[in-house]
């Protein structure tokens, strides 16, 4: 008589092991990223907007957005809920952006990419508000000025500037996203605004 056939304990071993695995899976902490579809539908556009404003390249922004959610799903168990989902996603997006913009390949493709965003593309989206053609022209010039000024900022200054003024995050949220102290975030914002102000005032001085 073979033990596997006659021993009831041996016969029940595989089923018990499966049930242990299932129990362990059930006991794994549930994260908001288990329902990835809902998370994507809620935050995808926001992440894409930040990445598009940062890279000024539609294809790169799309790729990094997809990579952000893929990485969030892969590392979902490390989400401790000590920050909001949005902050965690933006932190991932920011890390990906930093890694991506470091490479020489990014600089090359940014020069030759057909998906690069020009200020003329964005200026078509200035809200109308029934303004006169002169006002619209002045608004386009004003947008072109700040567009160029933002391009002159350093990577970190630009990131913090966009998080504050495009994404409208609080300083504490920016600090949580970037991992910097609030005082450092403030000083980066001051420097960024100094450059913006200087660029903003230079045409006025030229005309005077």
């Amino acid at each position: 008589m073979e033990p596997s056939n006659g021993d009831p304990v041996a016969a029940t071993m595989p089923a018990q092991a499966i049930s242990d695995v299932l129990t362990a899976t059930d006991q794994a902490p549930a994260t908001p990223f288990d329902d990835l579809g809902s998370v994507v539908s809620l935050y995808e556009q926001r992440v894409f907007r930040f990445l598009l404003a940062s890279t000024r390249d539609r294809d790169i922004a799309q790729t990094l957005t997809q990579e952000t959610f893929l990485r969030a799903w892969t590392h979902r168990t490390s989400f401790r809920e000590d920050c909001s989902i949005s902050t965690w996603l933006m932190r991932i997006a920011l890390n990906l952006l930093r890694d991506h913009t470091r490479t020489q390949r990014f600089r090359f493709w940014k020069r030759v990419s057909a998906a690069a965003v020009d200020v003329s593309d964005v200026s078509e989206h200035i809200p109308n508000y029934d303004s006169s053609p002169e006002d619209r022209l002045a608004a386009k010039q004003q947008l072109a000025l700040i567009w160029d000024a933002v391009a002159q900022l350093s990577q970190r200054q630009r990131t913090i500037f966009l998080l504050r003024f495009v994404e409208e995050l609080d300083l504490s949220e920016i600090a949580a996203t970037t991992g910097l102290p609030i005082s450092t975030v403030k000083s980066h914002l001051y420097r960024a605004l100094a450059i913006i102000r200087a660029r903003h005032n230079s045409p006025l001085k030229d005309t005077l």
Partner: protein, 166 residues
């Protein structure tokens, strides 16, 4: 004359990080802005630029996001209006119809060959006949038509024959 706002004060106003509205600092800043056209104009201009950037960037990214979504899910109507698809469909139709056309032409070929066999079959025989004629013409003269042999040569040979008879 009141001094202008410092860069930090202006930044705080832009960042909406001014002190509490009931504090004396905030009241002093507001008072200065109301009495200093240069500072208020610069603050208004800076705020307007930032608002322009935010609204235009948001609207543009929204449009791009929608476009990328629609590009990822191509609809039938969008597919049908692409001329390249029509060209590819035409090429496929021609490629499919070409073997059928060739296949239809193949059965007619034996008929035509059969009809042309009759006139062509005599031609080898004609050629054979002509060849025979040519061979006959080029052939050496037949033995009955051979010229007679030299009589002297025959007389010289005759005794030998007679001697053999003997």
């Amino acid at each position: 004359m009141n001094p202008h706002l410092t860069h930090e004060q202006l930044c705080d106003m832009v960042l909406a990080r001014s002190p509490h509205p009931l504090s004396s600092d905030f009241a002093a800043l507001q008072h200065h802005l109301s009495s200093c056209p240069a500072c208020s104009a610069e603050l208004a201009s800076l705020r307007a630029s930032i608002t322009l950037l935010r609204e235009a960037s948001t609207s543009y990214s929204q449009q791009q996001f929608t476009r990328l979504r629609s590009d990822n899910i191509p609809t039938l109507s969008k597919t049908l209006i692409q001329p390249i698809y029509w060209a590819a469909a035409a090429v496929l139709c021609i490629a499919a119809a070409l073997p059928l056309t060739l296949h239809r032409q193949n059965p007619s070929t034996p008929v035509s060959s059969a009809s042309t066999i009759k006139p062509t079959t005599p031609s080898p025989s004609d050629e054979a006949l002509l060849e025979e004629i040519n061979q006959e013409l080029s052939a050496p003269i037949p033995s009955p038509m051979q010229p007679l042999a030299d009589p002297t040569a025959s007389s010289a040979t005759t005794p030998s024959t007679s001697s053999q008879r003997n």
